[in-house]
């Protein structure tokens, strides 16, 4: 009698792979986890709505404005608004720009490729020429540094793309909250299924961008580029913001000169799934901005939940970050399930193996994330 030896050890995160394959989630299902995730996604939805509107406003109306002093005002510059802005009674739109720049820097997806294409450069040049036509110094600048303004336009494309992505996500999270309030979503797997359904429904939405200069419309991201919501914006967004991120002093202690930061962007792991919530509250730390924004829109039940824990509302921003991280593991679960090469319940061994390999690659990257902490 012989025994078959299994020479390949199971993946260290095999239980999580199995969870995803059976339409479960990376986050354990519990009543408090559902409360935290849905509650925080509601406030995130409200904040994303504001971020989205502002990003689209900047892309559409602040096109190549060299000194965009009022870019956060959405075109409504009044004295009371200025006073509120200076008093910092406002949304931290800087966080949205941080995410946009992270996406721009990490790239990925077909959009990144398209922005380097000749087609885009021609469209870009046309729009730039029209914009700077009456501005002699800038024309001179453009002649001297021909790559500068196209790069600004690429950034504006990302403003618009992220704005469009968050528009969908904002509505999705508000709908999720409504479903929770109505009692139709009560478990973490249901949350993940709801998000996955929303992502799949919007997957094929086209991502386009056009600006109007002197009455002429310039298509910078035409429909013909065939850029879509899920693969060309959502996936690069998850990659850039959830996984890679950027190392900020205050959140990560590093010495770049000692090569403690990888020169390979692909090996970055400073994203939301890896973020340490404890530094939240420190000045100049981008996640702090998001947590500050979300705290204004917490549903009452979540505020009461936080109030009853530890320091109450004194450390609410850290608590929001922890809940937010849990919710992002749910969104990641939904994304990975949505991106599976084959249906999760396939009975074909080859397809099962392919699915398994696909998830194992992602789990390799999650090995150093906060996945183990959110299980506690």
């Amino acid at each position: 009698m012989t025994q078959t030896l299994h020479l390949t050890a199971p993946h260290p995160l095999e239980p999580f792979i199995q969870r995803l394959l059976r339409a479960d989630a990376l986050l354990p299902d519990s009543r408090t986890n559902v409360l935290e995730v849905v509650g925080i996604l509601k406030s995130y939805g409200v904040v994303l709505d504001a971020y989205s509107k502002n990003l689209i406003y900047i892309a559409d109306h602040q096109f190549l404005v060299l000194f965009p002093f009022f870019k956060y005002f959405n075109g409504k510059v009044t004295l009371p608004q200025l006073l509120r802005h200076w008093w910092h009674d406002r949304i931290n739109f800087e966080y949205a720009e941080y995410c946009m720049k992270t996406m721009l820097w990490h790239g990925g997806g077909k959009m990144d490729d398209y922005l380097d294409s000749d087609d885009f450069l021609q469209r870009c040049e046309a729009a730039v020429s029209a914009k700077i036509k009456p501005n002699l110094p800038i024309r001179g600048l453009h002649g001297l540094f021909p790559d500068f303004l196209p790069e600004q336009v690429r950034q504006l494309v990302y403003y618009s793309a992220l704005g469009q992505f968050w528009r969908v996500m904002s509505d999705l999270f508000i709908d999720l909250s409504d479903a929770y309030d109505a009692g139709t979503v009560t478990t973490i797997p249901q949350v993940v299924a709801f998000v996955k359904a929303g992502l799949v429904a919007a997957a094929a939405n086209p991502i386009t961008y056009a600006v109007e200069i002197d009455g002429v419309t310039y298509d910078l991201l035409p429909a013909s580029a065939e850029l879509t919501f899920l693969m060309d914006v959502a996936v690069p967004y998850v990659e850039a913001v959830f996984f890679r991120g950027t190392p900020f002093l205050g959140t990560v202690s590093y010495n770049a000169q000692a090569n403690q930061i990888s020169v390979d962007q692909g090996r970055f792991d400073y994203g939301a799934l890896y973020a340490d919530p404890l530094p939240i509250g420190g000045a100049g730390i981008p996640p702090t901005l998001l947590m500050q924004d979300m705290r204004h829109y917490l549903p009452d039940y979540l505020t009461a939940f936080y109030q009853a824990q530890g320091r109450g509302l004194d450390d609410v921003r850290v608590k929001i970050c922890q809940s937010f991280q849990k919710s992002m593991f749910c969104v990641t679960s939904a994304s990975l399930q949505g991106l599976l090469p084959y249906p999760a319940d396939t009975q074909n061994p080859t397809e099962q193996a392919t699915n398994h390999q696909f998830l194992a690659r992602w789990m390799d990257r999650l090995a150093t994330s906060r996945l183990d902490v959110v299980q506690l």
Binding site: L278, P279, G281, G282, L376
Partner: protein, 548 residues
Amino acid sequence: MLSAIILIPLVAALVLILWPGKLEAQTAKVISGLGLGLTLALVGLLATRFDLAVPGFQFEELLPWVEPLGLTYRLGLDGLSLPLIAVNSLLGMVALYISDPTLPRTRLYYVLLLVLNSAVAGAFLSANLLLFFIFYELELVPLYLLIAIWGGAKRGYAATKFLLYTALSGVLILGAFLGLVWLSGHSSFDYDSDLAAALPLAQQITLLVALLVGFGIKVPLFPFHTWLPDAHVEASTPVSVLLAGVLLKLGTYGLVRFGLGLLPEAWMALAPWLATWAVISVLYGSLAAIAQPDMKKMVAYSSIGHMGYVLLAAAAATPVSIVATVFQMISHGLISALLFLLVGVVYKTTGTRDLTVLRGLLNPERGLPFVGSLMILGVMASAGIPGMVGFISEFLVFRGSFLVFPVQTLLCMVGSGLTAVYFLLLVNRAFFGRLAIAPPSPTPQLDIVLPSVTWRDRTPALVLAALIIAFGLQPSWLARWSEHTTLGLYQPYERMALGKTPLTTLPVAMADTTLIAPALANSIRLDPSLTELTVESTPESKVEVYTP
């Protein structure tokens, strides 16, 4: 009126002892608070009636007691004792306020606190050497018990060590007092600055050495310091506050009052050695502090260093440096009390004082940002950063001592630099970086949640911090009480002020520093004959005596 400062806490203690039935902790605290509050108010009242221009004792009280022994109940308050009495009352209140209401044997605890306060006040107010000794010994008992009963794991060892050291200190002081009175042929132990005037220098030096060792143990100065870190580490936070803030000052007060005040000639003869001893103490304390992994031990060793400044200033014995001794005593009292208070809060919150473990306590959401900010303020004050009382006191110490003992002063200034080193190490290790209160664990851990520090815990530290800044910005609020007394302490200087000593025999430093003191506070009214004089110290320099 002075007796009331001693008696009110004792009466409060008696009420606690005689309280019928079970005494609730809160009730005991309120009664003790009333006693100490009344005492503090009385000290405030005395301060308003205190005549700044009188260098000697005021509000004197005299009651014959055991006259054949020369023991009288004689109390007096002067510019040297008034600030220390005030600090004793204030820190007594602070210690009471921060005392844990859930302590076992609360009745005994509060009684001991009150007796300790009373005994220390008695020692500072005594104008009779034997009476001082009685109070000096009396405070050992409650302090010993406070450490031995409510201390940490090794409290028995620490308390016994403290008792042995300070008992030896008492024996030496008593021996010196007895020798002083008997050799001088007096029949009374009443404080008299001329008590040793007729004694030969050798006898004076012998007596002074006994006093130096006796009070050196209490201060403590190297190498008599080893009881202090143990006592601090094992003592509870309120006791540490009192120990560092007030009780060590009994040693420095004794050095200035009895060493310099009674034996000035011997003091001047030994002054260079004393200054060198101060340097050793300062550098040893500072270097030892750098090596400490325990936050409380680090602050304890810093006390050894900072008390060395008092010895340096007293050794220099210039008018400015003697004022500086008072400044340094008060400054160290407030700053070390603040630091021990904050270390206590850190320990209470995190359960550790280990600097190899603690990290990131300044974390704005889950750490102790307020405590950390006050700690940074406290260590800055201790390191002599301008704007706080630590700067004023150290500046005065160095300014007053430099011209007399330049090398020793410069070396002590190195000690001041070392203060910044070890306290920055403390702040950097414990308060910066990622929040941690335990070594890294291989298993996943929930994010740390430290309990928040209530305003109740913050308030006493805030009060001390406010005083540290207030006296740093307005040193005259402190100097005004002591200037005349400290000027009177140095006899040759007083004789000069009265025109009995030729001005040409004055050291340059003295003439020079005469001009500094008035700049600190109200003008000093010197003898009218001085206002027309000019000191010709060197052919190049012409120093004019300050004219109000």
